[in-house]
């Protein structure tokens, strides 16, 4: 069989066998509406309640702090827009976020700006860490929410959420963190980490696409986004997706167990970084240490990312890029640009995101395959031609 290496786990993950097995009874037998009073409904409700309890346990939270949503994007939208609508009642209209958030957060904030809210987009340093001084300077009594992601999806940078909570809470602002990428990589204990809200998404941790979750700490009150029936304690309407909720619970439990395996993933990541940055004119984007265990993001100068992806795909390797060509817009990755990476280097970025399913052989294969692809593309690049000519002259 042809070699296949999936190195795009930050994009999505395959649903695991255990998760499928856990979900099957919800389709086959317990398919009732959890709001119904008869047995079929009660059975479904029991499964859902049990899932909620188990998820709460994973995060050391309470079951009534867990709200299921249709995806990570919905949870992000809800946390931000729901908080904005509520804080306006208290006369607050300022939100602080960062320049490197996922579009679900950035575009929610932009939508609120159109409604008259003021938004500050925090700068990041060259490694993608948010500028805490800028946070301290821009936060006022008028700030109702600080929304900063737990870990970045493109460069894997882990943000100082604990310190952000201290700064925000001192001014009476709520803190929301998008933990979609952090979950499964970092142990999150919500009895210790004082965030007010946290979002996550199932499909990044081997549950299906189309299930997300928002943790809302007890005592924190945000406006509803999806109005309708009384589901999710009247906070989020819509007949619950019981199978996926059960799948999410299973996936989160497994992800927690697998945290023990993170040092091995980190080792594979470090080997990829060490070997791939040996390619001339390459540079790691983000921090060497302060990054998610499975994230590698490297820019290769004088070539463009999409070409790399196409050749990698032919070689059976799935990866992603921050190049504009893959984004359907003219600009490359907003994250790399915010970190000060020049446009031309951002166009040549490659993200490899590995997981505990990745093997040492997979890493070997990537290390063997990529240099040839970079060379092939450089050999037909007019920019590389100039570099080579300059070398001959000197």
């Amino acid at each position: 069989m042809a070699k296949y290496v999936y190195a795009d786990n930050a994009s999505t993950t395959p649903v695991s066998k255990e998760v499928i097995d856990a979900m099957m009874p919800c389709f086959e037998t317990c398919w009732g509406n959890p709001s119904s009073l008869y047995e079929k409904g009660r059975d479904a409700k029991d499964l859902m309640d049990d899932a909620r309890e188990r998820i709460a346990k994973v995060f050391n939270a309470k079951a009534n702090e867990i709200y299921f949503t249709s995806c990570g994007s919905e949870a992000d939208n809800w946390a931000i827009k729901g908080t904005a609508l509520k804080m306006r009642e208290k006369g607050k209209n300022h939100i602080i976020t960062s320049k490197i958030e996922h579009p679900a957060v950035l575009n929610s904030c932009r939508a609120l700006e159109k409604l008259g809210f003021k938004v500050t987009y925090l700068d990041v340093d060259e490694y993608g860490v948010v500028d805490l001084d800028m946070l301290r300077c821009s936060i006022t009594e008028n700030t109702g929410l600080v929304a900063v992601m737990f870990a970045n999806n493109e460069v894997g940078t882990i943000e100082p959420i604990s310190e952000i909570c201290d700064i925000a809470h001192a001014k009476g602002a709520l803190v929301f963190t998008d933990a979609v990428q952090a979950v499964g990589n970092i142990d999150i204990d919500l009895s210790k980490l004082p965030v007010d809200m946290l979002s996550l998404s199932g499909h990044k941790i081997h549950a299906p696409k189309g299930i997300g979750m928002l943790f809302i700490r007890r005592g924190v009150n945000i406006a509803n986004l999806i109005d309708g029936g009384a589901q999710e304690r009247r906070k989020r309407a819509g007949t619950e997706n019981v199978p996926y909720i059960v799948g999410l619970a299973k996936a989160l439990e497994i992800a927690k167990e697998k945290l023990d395996d993170i040092p091995r993933v980190r080792k594979m990541r470090d080997r990829l970084i060490s070997e791939l940055t040996k390619i001339p004119y390459s540079k790691l984007n983000g921090s060497r240490e302060n990054r998610l265990a499975g994230n590698v993001n490297i820019s290769f100068e004088y070539i463009e990312g999409e070409g790399m992806l196409l050749w990698l795909d032919i070689a059976g390797i799935a990866a992603s890029t921050g190049s504009a060509c893959s984004s359907e817009s003219l600009d490359p990755s907003h994250v790399l640009l915010a970190m000060g990476v020049p446009h031309e280097k951002a166009h040549g970025s490659l993200r490899l995101s590995i997981s505990h399913e990745t093997t040492d052989e997979d890493i070997d294969y990537i290390i063997e395959t990529l240099p040839g692809i970079v060379k092939k593309l450089r050999d037909m690049s007019p920019l590389w031609e100039e570099v080579e000519k300059a070398k001959i002259k000197n």
Partner: protein, 139 residues
Amino acid sequence: MKYSEKVMDHFTHPRNVGEIEDADGVGVVGNAKCGDIMKMYLKIDENDVIVDCKFKTFGCGAAIATSSMATELIKGHTVQEALKLTNSAVVEALDGLPPVKVHCSVLAEEAIKTALADYYKKIGRPVDFEIEKSHEGEE
């Protein structure tokens, strides 16, 4: 987004990649900031026939494929014929491009016209055609 088999063929086996040392016309279009640059080299004989044509491209799969196809479409043809090559002819020859990639074919057309303008200047012929500059004004 999916590329046609033709596009993938020209991307994986680009025709006429390289440089021409003593080219009669050279054209460079695009910029690194926008993520694509095409450089065209033309060798033209005394009868205005493009006897050789080579390219180098920094850019996505579509940029490489359109450059490759454009060189094939003009090689062996006269300068007058090459001036008539439109971006849509390149797209058609590639069995289509995804809509977001059509600008790559525009760049290929520009690259050829820019190289031809360079040739005209070199031989002292007035440049009597216009080149649309798709990347100008994009900051």
